[in-house]
């Protein structure tokens, strides 16, 4: 092909994938490729860059359809291994939220753990109650199900894959327990949670190739981006490279639970906080033009992030300056006040790397084609806070 082309299309890239000729690199490999060969050669030769993350994604859960029993029941309240699932849908549909805790075991066991048991092929205890109606006379159900028994079981996660996040510290003089893990008193440690240079939305910071309908790696299976994620906040302050310096874009994702694996979907019990679910997500980014070459060559030192003091328990926590991911990954950062603080990640870089490599393999094998989004994620939607006490207009 001609080295002068400045634009590539999805169709051309997919054509090459089908022929087994596409050059696919992980986001880490892309950094080295561009360093060694320059942007022009990268545009001419690289077709796809695979990005990934494996982190705690609380806003996750599964839609399940149990099928009808005889006599039938219109499930009003439903528990799976004593974890309540939301049944305010049709007769035998529920939504099982990942963070819902067991009524017996509390935060030791929750929706995410039930999802893991289903994925592992284990039997799950299903209990349901109902008021009983003419067409659905049954009032109680107590049985066991497996993933295979269900009609549909799909993850539908309203907010995953945060584009960057905060670094959490604690300035107070007592230890606090947060969704960012335990934070020791007097800046004893700092937690951060993004996969940095491997992270999907940091490799396409203005969502030029990411949107509704994008085919992705989700939990070990092929999935899709369904919508912009809840709290999607593209207008967050950005650095010179266009990278938002805190939590910004998000995505809602969907995929068939029956094809996923416990390798990439894991329940978590966060001490004195609650249940969460680690979800593995991989997003392929087509190298359509020079702009995408530059975005996907982003590296940890280009990614700045804001340090936030979590000790106050308030919505707008005070901030303490910025650091970049290279500094975070080194294991210590120095705060504005001169304090040296040990850092630790919450998301697994090791797993993110595995996912990026796995997705690369799928594409190389011709099993996974790129899908042009039907609509890109919004770059201007506004992020609102909840205002209390407003009088309704009658």
């Amino acid at each position: 092909m001609s080295g002068k082309k400045t634009e590539k299309s999805y169709a051309e890239i997919n054509q090459r994938i089908k022929k087994g000729e596409a050059l696919v690199l992980t986001a880490e490999e892309m950094i080295d490729f561009v360093d060694e060969n320059g942007e022009d050669k990268a545009l001419a030769e690289v077709d796809v860059v695979t990005t990934a993350t494996f982190g705690a994604m609380c806003s996750s859960g599964a839609f399940l359809n149990f099928g009808h029993c005889d006599p039938p029941i219109r499930m009003g309240r439903v528990w799976l291994n004593d974890v309540m699932a939301y049944a305010g849908l049709a007769a035998v549909d529920v939504y099982l939220g990942a963070t819902e805790e067991s009524e017996i075991k509390g935060l030791e066991y929750g929706g995410a753990h039930v999802i893991e048991e289903l994925l592992a092929g284990r039997k799950v205890h299903l209990r349901a109650t109902s008021k009983g109606t003419d067409s659905y006379p049954r009032k109680e159900l107590d049985t066991y199900i497996t993933l295979e028994d269900l009609n549909q079981a799909y993850l539908f996660n309203p907010r995953n894959c945060y584009q960057n996040y905060w670094v959490a510290v604690n300035s107070s003089d007592k230890m606090i327990y947060t969704y960012m893990g335990p934070l020791m008193a007097r800046f004893g440690n700092a937690s951060y949670s993004s996969a940095g240079q491997l992270s999907p939305l940091l490799n396409d910071p203005y969502y030029k190739t990411i949107g509704i309908g994008s085919r992705i790696f989700l939990g070990g299976a092929q999935g899709y981006i369904a919508w912009e994620g809840t709290q999607h906040n593209p207008v967050r302050e950005r650095n010179q490279k266009g990278i938002p310096v805190g939590g910004a874009g998000t995505m809602a994702v969907i995929g068939d639970l029956k094809e996923m694996s416990t390798e990439y979907v894991r329940p978590a019990s966060i001490e004195k906080y609650g249940v969460s679910m680690y979800v593995g997500i991989g997003v392929p980014i087509p190298i359509l033009n020079k702009e995408m070459v530059r975005y996907t060559a982003v590296r940890d030192r280009d990614i700045d992030v804001t340090i936030v003091d979590y000790s106050g328990g308030v919505r707008d926590n005070p901030t303490l300056g910025q650091v970049n991911y290279e500094q975070l990954r080194s294991g210590t950062i120095v705060l504005e006040n001169g304090r040296e603080v040990p850092t630790a990640p919450l998301s697994s870089y090791n797993k993110a790397r595995k996912i990026a490599l796995e997705l690369k393999k799928w594409i190389n094998n011709g099993e996974f084609l790129l899908e042009k989004p039907v609509e890109n994620l919004s770059t201007n939607s506004q992020f609102k806070i909840l205002k209390e006490g407003a009088v309704p207009n009658v």
């Binding site: 019990s269 966060i270 990954r329 990640p345």
Partner: protein, 137 residues
């Protein structure tokens, strides 16, 4: 270096004696106190790690404690690491001050060095995968 975790119970009659002071002074051991409840005229409890040059120095210090009338219980515990549950996130490394838990900066896998562990138990609450636990023996 040799380390044992002990639980000490003092009768009210010895609460006033400088037992731990003598221990450090005479037997050249390092002690790290995790819990202590020592009040005048009450039975005292203490959980501590005692570290000495070798088994012998620890044995001697325990003998001394017993000779003073302290009841000594061994807490034979260690941190156990379940690799299958571990996702190599690294969350535990941020709270481990002893260097027993570190991330390999190349592979981003967790490296566990039991010998450095001080049994402070901080990592137990940092691991949301329950990959680290406190085991007997």
């Amino acid at each position: 270096m040799c380390k044992k975790r002990l639980k000490l119970v003092f009768g009210p009659e010895i609460v006033g004696k400088p037992v731990t002071y003598n221990l450090i002074k005479k037997y050249d051991v390092i002690i790290n106190v995790f819990q202590a409840r020592v009040l005048p005229d009450e039975e005292g409890h203490m959980v501590l790690d005692i570290r000495g040059k070798n088994e012998e120095s620890i044995k001697k210090s325990i003998k001394y404690l017993q000779s003073e009338g302290v009841m000594v219980d061994f807490l034979e515990k260690s941190i156990s690491y379940n690799q299958d549950r571990c996702i190599n996130c690294g969350a535990c490394t941020g709270v481990c001050r002893s260097g027993a838990l570190l991330m390999d900066q190349e592979s981003w896998e967790l490296i566990v060095d039991q010998d450095k562990c001080l049994l402070c138990e901080m990592c137990l609450s940092a691991c949301s995968m329950k990959a680290l636990s406190l085991e007997l023996g």
